[in-house]
Symmetry: C2
């Protein structure tokens, strides 16, 4: 019984090859993939999976907090294995999303589950940076 299986069982899910493949992909590839990306990558080694299942599985994982939805990209949802707080940078050239460690604690440090800002109860704070990533910048200059 490996770690992936345990993670799935702990949440009350049944262990299926599809779920293992998705979880494994997410853990090994921290690229904030879209559902389509996960699907196409997994299909390479594991053809017996459908896009529908990817969506349904991701929805289940999100519901129990294993995975986080990242709406930094205007027209499609991206998914991120939950880890400690970090923020995201979206490159408008290559469309990739990168983790960044910029100091958000100046804001997030003030926030707890009960924190209110202008009367609104704040659960999460996401900092979305946009621009041109180091790789695209290098190519264009």
């Amino acid at each position: 019984m490996n770690k992936l299986q345990t993670d799935i069982l702990e949440k009350g899910f049944k262990v299926t090859p599809q779920r293992l493949a998705i979880l494994k992909y997410l853990k090994e590839n921290r690229v904030h993939p879209t559902a389509e990306k996960i699907y196409s990558e997994i299909t390479k080694e594991y053809p017996a999976i459908s896009l529908t299942t990817v969506y349904k599985t991701l929805a289940s994982f999100v519901e129990v907090g294993m995975v986080k939805e990242l709406d930094i990209d205007p027209h499609k949802m991206r998914f991120d294995i939950c880890t400690e707080d970090h923020n995201h940078f979206h490159c408008r050239v290559c469309d990739n999303v990168y983790d960044v460690d910029c100091d958000g604690s100046t804001i997030t440090g003030d926030l707890h589950s009960s924190t209110k800002i202008e009367g609104h109860k704040v659960d999460t704070v996401d900092i979305h940076l946009k621009g041109v990533c180091r790789y695209c910048e290098a190519v264009s200059s």
Copy 2:
């Protein structure tokens, strides 16, 4: 010649009743509406407008910087008349988006058009707060 007309002309656009209606709505209703919302609100007083035109007009306004796209809401785009920097709070109960003045300058203050974070050139910083708004919180308690 009123202010709305001037705003539109200055950007090199032709002044049409549709554009005036959209701009007027956006200026008077800072609720970060979706395209659909703008359409349905405008239609009440001005039935001769199509959703397609709303989308096309918004795209034009975004292109010249009059309007900003706000992707805080997972499945639909919201639009905001550009003003000075501010941040947004998305209520997961009523689905409304509110402006907030929480101090993002601790982060954004460090950022200029040439600022880099971990090598990435940062153009914009958006802080997205999510939770339950003051009104929904009041109702539920």
